[in-house]
Amino acid sequence: STVVLVFQAPVCKASDEDGSSQEFKFCVKRGDKVRMGEALGR
């Protein structure tokens, strides 16, 4: 079985008033084993 997620997220670096980046980045690699609840991206 397979699960596919399709979603919108910020793409360009833009800063909030506090200077934080809002760009979405995946924090996994192809072939990684993930467990439910672990972050795929931020």
């Binding site: 699960v3 979603f7 919108q8 360009c12 809002q22 439910m36």
Partner: protein, 346 residues
């Protein structure tokens, strides 16, 4: 006497031949898997290459086989036998039995054991409010950004569009709210009707600037996760979101293992699947749960009455079966980590 000796010789001979044949096939499979693993480690892309097995699979009544498998695995075992069977399964498919919520002898059948829940705290949910959590245990196959005109790659040389995966039905009110007038309305070329949908708007013009704030431009991303037979087979919510609509696409039930991915074109688009679509804080969110031969039916926690993998004569002849969740525009509110669905055997 000579006749009984002959039979005694014949039966073990046939059995040994069968075992040998299965052993050779298994060894060949292991060898191919190892070669594939080595190629992947070297960064060599697996390419699409249809083979005879794929052609043969297309002729097989896989949905029927899947339902028979479901019936076989629903058979209740004697209590004393259950731990032995589930331990054997766990050894074969590398499952962690210590995580199971119940003692092994309380799972009446393999089917029950397969969709077992986990002990409290086995899967801590990432606490970052801006993270996207994995909805399942599994292996990351693909991920990335869907730029205009691009498709999701199954393997090198075989791709499918997000539209064909999620369905083409419109999501009018949400799209209109989110588009903020900056997106040209797409014309439905097939029937001339004007239709907007979340993903169509997003894919056609993925970098949408919200004019009302300094929020960044939005893109459309995807992530494909494969669940092996030994993995925990329940699906959870990746973020806080509202599910507006469910689509059920009755379809084939091809296997979705690595070999199938590189030999069966449009695998994910042809297989039976359930798609949930809605909205999270960054916009559109869709989750597609795709079945396979052994894991043929999908159960929704938010819609327990939904039945999939039912006997059907004609597949792909009708549009997907949809359900808009009430109240319209609000839908079903899910928190990150909430259980959404489960994959069942057969």
């Amino acid at each position: 006497s000579s006749s009984s000796e002959g039979n005694a010789f014949f039966v073990p001979g046939a059995t040994v031949a069968t075992i040998l044949m299965l052993g050779v096939l298994h060894a060949r499979r292991l060898y191919e898997d190892k070669k594939m693993e080595e190629a992947r480690e070297k960064g060599i892309e697996i390419e699409f290459s249809p083979d005879k097995k794929a052609t043969f699979l297309r002729l097989m009544p896989l949905r029927t086989i899947s339902r028979i498998w479901g019936n076989v695995t629903s058979v209740e075992y004697p209590i004393w036998l259950r731990p032995y069977i589930y331990k054997a399964w766990a050894r074969a498919f590398h499952s962690n039995l210590e995580e199971a919520a119940l003692p092994l002898d309380q799972y009446a059948s393999l089917r029950d054991f397969f969709v077992r829940t986990l002990k409290e705290g086995s899967r801590p949910i990432d606490s970052d409010p801006h993270s996207l959590a994995s909805p399942v245990d599994g292996t990351i196959l693909r991920f990335g950004e869907l730029k205009p005109g691009t498709m999701i790659e199954q393997v090198k040389g075989a791709s499918y569009s997000a539209a064909s995966l999620l369905g083409a039905r419109s999501f009018l009110s949400i799209a209109q709210d989110d588009a903020i007038g900056e997106i040209d309305e797409l014309e439905n070329t097939s029937n001339g009707a004007s239709k907007k949908s979340w993903w169509r708007v997003s894919l056609a013009s993925p970098k949408v600037r919200d004019t009302t704030s300094v929020r960044p431009m939005k893109g459309v991303f995807y992530c494909v996760i494969y669940l092996k037979p030994g993995d925990y087979h329940r699906v959870h919510s990746p973020v806080n979101w509202q599910v507006f609509i469910r689509r059920h696409f009755p379809g084939q039930l091809y296997p979705v293992n690595e070999r199938a991915r590189r030999t069966i074109k449009n695998l994910y688009v042809e297989n039976e699947r359930v798609v949930l679509e809605g909205q999270w804080e960054e916009g559109f969110m869709a989750l597609a749960a795709i079945g396979a031969t052994n894991i043929g039916s999908i159960e929704l926690a938010i819609e327990p009455e939904l039945r999939t993998n039912r006997p059907q004569k004609l597949l792909h002849s009708e549009p997907p079966k949809e359900r808009v969740y009430e109240p319209e525009g609000v839908g079903v509110v899910l928190k990150k980590g909430d259980e959404v669905a489960a994959f069942n055997m057969g």
